[in-house]
């Protein structure tokens, strides 16, 4: 067991006090490696909580720069950061919260050509992206690499999330099969989102990552959690692995990663 400094004991005291985390669980967090894809509405709260929790290595990927319109919900970015790479901005805040952790910013987008190389250094992946093309790419790459991940999506007042344990639980394609036709995806002028629901969902994703690393509780495997913040109604739908899933079913037809056209809408 590692020797905790007095400062570490105090910093992590509220974790250590938890029966389901304790000294051993905190040690797993300090040794844990989580990659956050997207430093936006979902990635922002996830990054801050994982850094605060002492997750030993946190990577954060985003190929975009901070825009004024992001600040309504992407809480790791401040007004002074407009124009700064989002991954750099998020990394600065994570280091400020917890100088003990290692943070790797990736100021780039992910494609079929680079995603596997980046994710394989991590224990768990958080999908905080805003487009279906990347969500399917993350699913497929995590299935191929066998890395568990948390899927998350938000729009208007709604959120949805599921956690995938590749090969063991339903994957994103088991449930949704393929990206929707671009004309069914709201265009940027139609899409709005209540800022605080990004925090609701991104924080659920961070919680899943912390549970995965510590082994506490039950993961959101084979379950799709959805909420409607207007009614403040939470539901959980049970899922099962799909035998006909194109990537993790009995006769997979997807055998390599491909890039598809993103129907990008910046949420």
């Amino acid at each position: 067991m590692r020797d905790y400094t007095e400062d570490q004991l105090e910093r992590y005291s509220r974790h250590i006090l938890l029966k389901d985390v304790g000294v051993e669980g905190q040690e797993k967090l300090l040794d844990g490696k989580v990659l956050i894809i997207g430093a936006g509405g979902l990635g922002s709260p996830a990054a801050l909580y994982l850094a605060a929790a002492g997750v030993g290595m946190i990577g954060i990927v985003d190929g975009d720069r901070v825009d004024l319109s992001n600040l309504q919900r992407q809480i790791t970015h401040f007004t002074k950061d407009v124009g700064v790479w989002k991954a750099d901005s998020a990394s600065e805040k994570m280091r400020a919260i917890n100088p003990e952790i290692t943070v790797h910013p990736y100021n780039q987008y992910l494609f079929a050509s680079n995603i596997r190389e980046i994710i394989k250094a991590y224990d768990f992946v958080i999908d905080g992206t805003d487009n279906f093309a990347t969500k399917f790419l993350i699913n497929d790459a995590c299935v191929f690499e066998g890395i568990p991940f948390s899927h998350g999506g938000i729009l208007r007042f709604d959120g949805q999330t599921m956690t995938v344990n590749p090969g063991e639980s339903a994957c994103y394609r088991c449930v949704f099969n393929a990206p929707p036709p671009p004309n069914l995806v709201p265009t940027c002028s139609q899409a709005g989102v209540l800022g605080a629901i990004a925090g609701m969902l991104g924080t659920i994703q961070a919680t899943e990552a912390l549970k995965f690393l510590t082994g506490a509780g039950n993961m959101l495997y084979n379950k799709l959690l959805t909420f409607d913040a207007l009614k403040m109604d939470f539901r959980t739908v049970n899922l099962r692995k799909n035998e006909n899933c194109p990537i993790c079913g009995s006769h997979p037809v997807i055998t390599e990663l491909v890039d598809s056209d993103p129907a990008v809408c910046d949420l």
């Binding site: 004991l9 105090e10 250590i16 006090l17 304790g22 000294v23």
Partner: protein, 74 residues
């Protein structure tokens, strides 16, 4: 079976039980931890918390200004 000692008379909540948990995590099951602590909050909470985590409270004795509790690790 080993006997370990810990003095948390200078600690305040919640570091009292945090320090106790740190030692309990390091020692072997069946080992005994003797904790010296102050009356009031630590005396009320540390034995209760240790019991909630499945450890056995063997004894609680007053020792001058402080108290000594013996805990057998689960």
């Amino acid at each position: 079976m080993d006997i370990h000692t810990l003095d948390i008379t200078k600690e305040h909540c919640p570091m009292t039980f945090v320090k106790a948990k740190l030692v309990l995590a390091k020692i072997n099951s069946g080992d005994v931890l003797e904790i010296t602590l102050k009356g009031g909050e630590p005396l009320e909470n540390v034995p209760k918390s240790a019991a909630e985590e499945g450890h056995r409270i063997l004894s609680i004795e007053k020792n001058g200004e402080s108290h000594v509790i013996k805990i057998e690790k689960n």
